[in-house]
Amino acid sequence: MISFNLKKYFYCSRKKWLIAIIVLLVLAVILKYIVGYDFLPVGKQLTLWDYIFASLSYPFAMLLVIPLLYCYLVADIITKDYEGGYVTFLLSRSSCRLEYFLSKVIIIFVTSNIFFFIYLMILFLVGLIYGIPSNGASYFTVTSTILESGGTIFNAIIMQYSLFVTLLYLLGILSVTVSLIFNKSLYSYIFIAGLILHGHNTVFNNHNNLPYSPLAQGIMSFHYPFYYRGLNNMTEISESIQRFSIGYSIVYLSLLLFVFFLVGFIRIRTMNLFLKD
């Protein structure tokens, strides 16, 4: 069931992925021109790793474009099956609905990984095409903090990967669950839009809510200790920010992921998979 559903998903979603890649490419180009404004001192050169990590933490991308784009890729992976009646062919070959649901959950995990690496590659390529140097002083809070504390870019990529993929995995499960509850993938977008508004308010108006906004968890530069460094050690850091670490976010996102997985499974376990509820 898993290999079948993976093949079917990528076959049916080729156009969607092509659109997603184009959007990510355009996003990467736009970010090349704007990310530096927030942290780069006047007259200093943007480096490749600063560009990549600042892009991966840029609120416009992480709060708006990435969540909607990923939702577009996976929200209908179950509803499409039963809207078209294809689910008859699948369930008549399956021993239980959990098997079917798990195969979709695995698709979400695989696609969240692919999405991250495609985005990373696009950022890298855009950086190379624009001739952004890979060497030089780092000014972005994530890269400078990690490098100055003896870490490497590889450490930063691992941290970023964990945050990004866990967030996408959650958004995927959430989208599928919401679309199952309402029998339409459109409702997933509405739910994601709610999260975007909450994330926007958190990031731009009230940083004390950072630990509670699902989308803000994906912004690495807002985590402790990067956030602290980003303020040039000048501001007193509130307790809520101090506990907003990478580890906290991964646990928080994983818990939400588990909850939405359970809700999704409970829903699909008994629902009508042909007739609209």
């Binding site: 093949k7 079917k8 239980c96």
Partner: protein
């Protein structure tokens, strides 16, 4: 499974949809190699009954047992096994050929090989070497492919909903041959159809869904039987 053993047993089945009772106190037993036909007016619940047997939906009351296994939500959302089905219009992956579609579906259970798939297609008069995409198939060809996918994995129970929809006379003849061949091998069928001739020539027992219940047609007066469509 013994020859006289029932492959499907339905007891006291009840199903509502959007607050409206569709099926009530439905009872049905099908033994190995038996072909049951179900007729009824539009919206009477014929297709719903097939969906319930397949586990696409679960009943509010009553039991469905397929090959001795209960079809109910349970812990994991249990589904019947060794059941083939063609319910309503078959939807395939449109850009793939017929054989590619069936090969992909067969990869879920991994129980049959390429030759079994080809044989099922040939039996329904389809050329396995035809590379034409399913999107370019006629309604009749798609229906033949739908029948082939339902029978290719040698199921013990096959559910057909209006199986001859869109089939020409050759297609109907091939379908009848397939059903009779499989019946001789002990495969049971439920065929939902509006076509009286199909029901008469193929089925051992005919039921009609009326007033939410399932009634044996040969228990009705002859004048009623004449009017069954």
């Amino acid at each position: 499974m013994r020859k006289d053993e029932n492959i499907l047993v339905i007891k006291g089945l009840e199903k509502s949809f959007k607050g409206q009772l569709i099926l009530q106190d439905v009872n049905l037993s099908i033994s190995k190699g038996e072909i049951v036909g179900i007729v009824g007016s539009n919206g009477s619940g014929k297709t719903t009954l097939l969906k319930l047997i397949l586990g696409l939906s679960y009943p509010e009351k009553g039991d469905i047992m397929v090959r001795g296994k209960r079809v109910f939500p349970g812990l994991l959302g249990d589904l019947p096994t060794r059941v083939g089905a063609l319910i309503e219009n078959p939807t395939f992956l449109p850009q793939f050929s017929g054989i590619k579609n069936l090969t992909m579906l067969a990869s879920i259970r991994k129980e049959i090989g390429k030759s079994d798939i080809e044989n099922a297609m040939k039996e329904m008069g389809l050329d396995p070497n035809n590379k034409k995409a399913v999107s370019k198939y006629s309604l009749g060809m798609r229906q033949r492919l739908g029948i082939a996918q339902a029978i290719m994995e040698k199921p013990e129970l096959v559910l057909f909903d209006e199986p001859t929809n869109g089939l020409d006379s050759d297609g109907v003849e091939l379908f009848s041959k397939v059903v009779n061949r499989m019946k001789a091998e002990g495969v049971s069928f439920i065929i939902v159809s509006h076509r009286k001739d199909e029901i008469d020539s193929l089925c051992d027992t005919i039921y009609k869904i009326e007033n939410r219940g399932l009634h044996k047609v040969n228990e009705y007066p002859a004048s009623f039987k004449e009017n069954v469509e």
